[in-house]
């Protein structure tokens, strides 16, 4: 089994890491090379140190973090973490900043583990490993890969996420990214378009007051109830009397009965705005998910979510690993756990080295040692279909953006899908594929063959729809005057009912070129919407485990989780905190570090949020507004006022 890993050793190829893509680093590397040639004059070194202090501040740039192996394994450490997935990386950084000595290893030659961002060649190797049930790839199964014309794919042009996620503008992970300064290693892009699939067409979401007001297809009473509902959600915690009777009932029932909304709106609210992966969601959970969306609007601009450029959780994991390394954590890639003995507290690794662990050893289920006995059950499934398509899909996106969300609600596909299919689409502008192409990430919590059928059908529907929309005069419907409304502001709008019908009759003249298709199942211990409960991590901690005579290499190992089905980053910080609590005792000093502000100069330049550059990138995130509530109208006014130094009052 080891041999197959070594066979793929040449696949340690990487796209340039977060760090390396930075101009300053590229220059610094060039400088470093030049310096090496001149050979260490004492003076030059001193100067170099000075420079580092001036530029680097608290978090110096760490090019070459990926090859830290020279250091070797320390003799002793407080915590060993196996697997550089997002939760584990956040945990490593938190512990390192708290002062624990951390040894963070990964059996792969790249960062990210279960949520890494991979090139095409890395994916190929990954699929082989998953299907051979190799160590380090547990938790994934039944991977199918289809690449019709391998010569058309230049491996390094792609960064495919195993677990793509989106980041709400108001969320705990974003706050943590800002607090820990990890956001400085990353670049975020806005995403404002959500579509809901309905009657064979994609409805763009009417989720703001502006959308509702200008929408020509909604009836007056629907508009009214939608607005009422939105207003209510903003303040639902204080209006318990409205929903207390529904706290054990489905969210869908609540919306229908209390707000008289019909199916299309319910679908939008539950599956798109709420991004729920099951129709059974209860009212309180549903409300909090809708609020999550609404309160994320206008925090940084008129978009609710963002994603990180060049790849999602894989990039963010790397960011936290860098932060951990800055705080003193030791990194070893390409190194897996062989065994741990809770009595001698010695952990042995695949490279033959060993370490004495004074506190705890945490391990991702995917990287459990060979013949592990205590890996928690992973009863829940997420099936993912990832496709690379030779179309930019800009038809579905807001101008200057490179991503969109599409949702197929429950029972909207010919397969009568029981669970919704959630889709994140990212185009070349997001840095994960060449311009003119896009990556489609489809997922569902349906299981087995049904899941695969649902995903394939959704993929077909997407293709059909894309063809219709990108074809110049793709369909042939005779529209007469009655089909055209004149909006009250004078714009003519074509009656969409008739168009919707014609869509069904439309037969595409061409096919979409699919360059890559990957289908796999991922297993998880976290139920959909399940809140991560502390007891999840209690597995294997009990005394009887330690004392049990069962021969196992993982006595006393605390297992973390496989990623959940949640499409956003929600839950990651909670999970990391729970693990942190297990090790430290409480979570009070979780990232409670005084990260000195070395470069405040950028911070207040853009009152009211982030500047949107020409490329649609977000540039610097304004620290101070991260906590600002999405007070719609007046937040900007406030921002201007805040920008002024001091308000002075004088008696004149």
């Amino acid at each position: 089994m080891m041999s197959s890993v070594t066979e793929h050793r040449y696949l340690a190829e990487r796209r340039p890491s977060v760090v390396e893509r930075r101009l300053s680093v590229v220059q610094a590397q060039a400088q470093a090379q030049a310096r090496a040639q001149v050979q260490a004059q004492a003076q030059a070194q001193a100067q170099n140190q000075n420079q580092n202090q001036v530029q680097g501040g608290v978090i110096p740039s760490l090019a070459g973090l990926e090859e830290p192996a020279m250091e070797g394994t320390p003799e002793k450490c407080d915590v060993v973490i196996c697997g550089t997935g997002l939760v584990e990386s956040v945990l490593a950084a938190a512990l390192a900043w708290q002062g624990s000595s951390v040894l963070h290893i990964d059996s792969h030659p790249y960062y990210g583990d279960t949520c890494s961002t991979l090139t095409i060649d890395q994916i190929k190797a990954w699929v082989d490993n998953v299907n051979q049930h190799n160590n380090g790839f547990k938790g994934f199964s039944d991977a199918l890969l289809y690449i019709p014309r391998p010569q058309d794919l230049n491996s390094k042009d792609y960064g495919i996420d195993l677990t793509p996620r989106i980041l709400f503008a108001k969320s705990d992970l974003l706050s943590l990214l800002i607090k820990s300064r990890v956001y400085k290693y990353l670049e975020f892009q806005p995403l404002s378009t959500y579509h809901t699939y309905e009657n064979d067409s994609f409805e763009k979401l009417a989720s703001t007051k502006e959308d509702i007001f200008t929408d020509q297809t909604l009836s007056l009473t629907t508009k009214r109830y939608l607005m009422k509902f939105m207003k209510f959600v903003f303040d639902y915690e204080n209006q318990k009397d409205q929903w207390i009777n529904y706290s054990k009932k489905p969210f869908i029932q609540f919306i229908q009965e209390k707000f008289n909304l019909a199916k299309p709106q319910v679908n939008e609210l539950v599956y798109s705005i709420g991004l729920t992966s099951t129709p059974d969601i209860l009212t309180p959970a549903g409300l909090s998910r809708v609020k999550r969306y609404l309160s994320s609007f206008e925090v940084y601009g008129s978009f609710p979510v963002m994603f990180s450029k060049y790849g999602g959780p894989g990039e963010i994991s790397q960011g936290f690993c860098r932060s951990a390394a800055v705080a003193g954590a030791t990194y070893k890639l390409d190194t897996g756990l062989v065994s741990y003995d809770p009595n001698s507290k010695i952990a042995i690794f695949t490279d033959g080295s060993k370490v004495h662990v004074t506190e705890k050893i945490i391990c991702s289920p995917s990287q459990a040692p060979e013949n592990a006995k205590f890996v928690p059950d992973q009863p829940h499934q997420i099936t993912r279909l990832i496709a690379i398509v030779k179309k930019s899909c800009k038809e579905w996106m807001t101008e200057n953006e490179s991503g969109c969300i599409i949702v197929f609600p429950t029972n909207s596909l010919p397969t009568a899908n029981k669970y919704p299919v959630q889709i994140l689409i990212q185009s070349g502008g997001s840095g994960i594929c060449p311009v003119g192409q896009s990556v489609w990430y489809l997922s569902t919590i349906e299981t087995g063959n049904r899941a695969r059928k649902d995903l394939e059908t959704a993929l077909n529907k997407l293709e059909e729809s894309l063809l219709r929309e990108s074809e110049e005069d793709g369909f042939d419907v005779s529209l007469d005057e009655q089909d055209v409304f004149i909006r009250s502001d004078g714009l003519p709008v074509i009656n969409s009912v008739k168009l919707g019908k014609s869509f069904k009759d439309f037969i595409p003249k061409q096919n979409i070129q699919c360059l890559f298709k990957l289908l796999f199942t991922q297993h998880s211990a976290i139920p959909p919407f399940g809140i991560v409960r502390p007891k999840l991590f209690d597995h294997n901690k009990k005394e009887e485990d330690i004392n049990s005579t069962l021969a196992a290499p993982d006595h006393g190992v605390v297992y973390s989780n496989m990623p959940s089905s949640e499409i956003s980053y929600d839950g990651i910080v909670t999970e990391a905190k729970l693990l942190y609590e297990k090790i430290v005792g409480d979570d009070e000093d979780f990232f409670e570090v005084d990260f000195e502000d070395d470069d405040d100069e950028q911070v207040m330049q853009h009152p009211g949020g982030v500047s949107t550059g020409d490329n649609g990138g977000l540039g610097q995130i304004d620290d101070s507004s991260s906590t600002a509530h999405a007070g719609r109208d007046s937040s900007n006014e406030q921002a201007i006022a805040d920008d002024g130094d001091i308000e002075m009052e004088f008696d004149l």
């Binding site: 007051k209 007001f213 009214r224 009152p607 004149l652």
Partner: protein, 342 residues
């Protein structure tokens, strides 16, 4: 303002602030005395100008100093200057007010000074840039009525530079402005200033078109569209907006639809109800309608408002929506008045 509370400092913090401010107050007072002395002695020179800059920077609400600054500008800075120099001086002055506006976006004196500076010679001011600047300000706060007022000043300045007979250009400026205003209303219907601007523009456009050759202007717009292949969308919007003004009856019908849409979207937003009151009772409109047509409009609106109030009552334990009640009363009164006087 708009539900945002002023922060109140604790007693302790207040004292500390007062202590800290003492020095500042002292510098400010002496600077103020200085400038007022200079003003009384009619000193108009660079040193005096610089001092007003400093003082206004600290306190932009001090209108006497703004007046003095203008005296300095007229009697010294702008005096006997070449065109190039003038342009430079004006742009410096605009820059100064802009940094001030960023800090105090709702200070009358600053806006006023900007208007004065631009009016110094309307021909050399760049009005397109002004329009863009104020649009940026309104992006930051779409309800800053100073900004909206300033827009109307810019538009009328632009109009004043156009030949009175060039109706096409005059109409086009206002069509553009109408598009902008509609965009802002769509973005947030809760905006008195935008609705008010709409009312101003509507009347203005109807009046401009009163003596104009409607078809001729439409043809020129169409030509413009052909010439501007890249920018078809926006010109289409102007054309569609322009078509609204062909027929006043039609316009009012669409305006009523727009209003119904708005009150059903948000029944609690007062700015829409206020605009509705204007549409329903403005002499400008009903003078041009027959009695029957007018009554028809009123009844249509009445029916919708009553329907809305019923829905509101269902949702709010039988409580009426005050705006519905007020408006129902208004419409009933208008109907009564117009049915009596035959």
């Amino acid at each position: 303002m708009h539900g945002i509370k002023r922060t109140h400092l604790s007693k302790d913090a207040k004292l500390r602030k007062l202590e800290k401010d003492k020095v500042k107050i002292k510098t400010y007072r002496s600077l103020q005395d200085d400038v007022l002395d200079l003003k009384d002695s009619l000193v108009f020179d660079q040193m005096a100008l610089d001092k007003t800059t400093k003082l206004l920077d600290l306190n932009p609400e001090f209108y006497t100093i703004w007046n003095y600054r203008r005296d300095i500008l007229i009697n010294y800075v702008l005096k006997d200057k070449s065109l190039e120099d003038l342009k430079k001086i004006i742009s410096d002055e605009l820059l100064f007010t802009m940094t001030q506006l960023k800090k105090f976006p709702k200070c009358y004196c600053i806006w006023n000074h900007r208007v004065w500076m631009l009016s110094y010679d309307k021909k050399i001011s760049n009005w397109d840039i002004e329009l863009m600047t104020v649009s940026k300000m309104l992006d930051l706060d779409s309800r800053n009525f100073h900004g909206w007022h300033y827009r109307r000043f810019i538009i009328s300045s632009m109009e004043s530079l156009i030949d009175k007979d060039d109706l096409y250009s005059l109409v086009l400026i206002n069509l553009k402005e109408l598009s902008y205003t509609s965009k802002m209303i769509n973005r947030n219907i809760s905006n008195y200033s935008a609705w008010h601007n709409r009312s101003k523009l509507v009347v203005k456009l109807f009046e401009q078109l009163l003596n104009a050759d409607y078809t001729n202007i439409l043809q020129r717009l169409e030509q413009e569209k052909i010439q501007n292949n890249n920018n078809n969308n926006i010109i289409d919007e102007y054309i569609n907006n322009f078509k609204l003004f062909e027929n006043l009856k039609n316009f009012i019908n669409l305006e009523i639809d727009l209003l119904i849409n708005a009150i059903f979207t948000d029944a609690e937003d007062s700015s829409v109800w206020v605009y509705m009151r204007w549409v329903l009772s403005s002499k400008f409109f009903y003078d041009k309608l027959s009695k029957d047509e007018y009554l028809q409009n009123l009844n249509k609106m009445l029916e919708k408002v009553e329907e809305l109030n019923e829905l509101e009552k269902d949702d709010n334990n039988g409580q009426n929506n005050p705006w519905c009640i007020k408006t129902t009363t208004l419409i009933k009164e208008l109907i009564r008045k117009n049915s009596n006087t035959l």
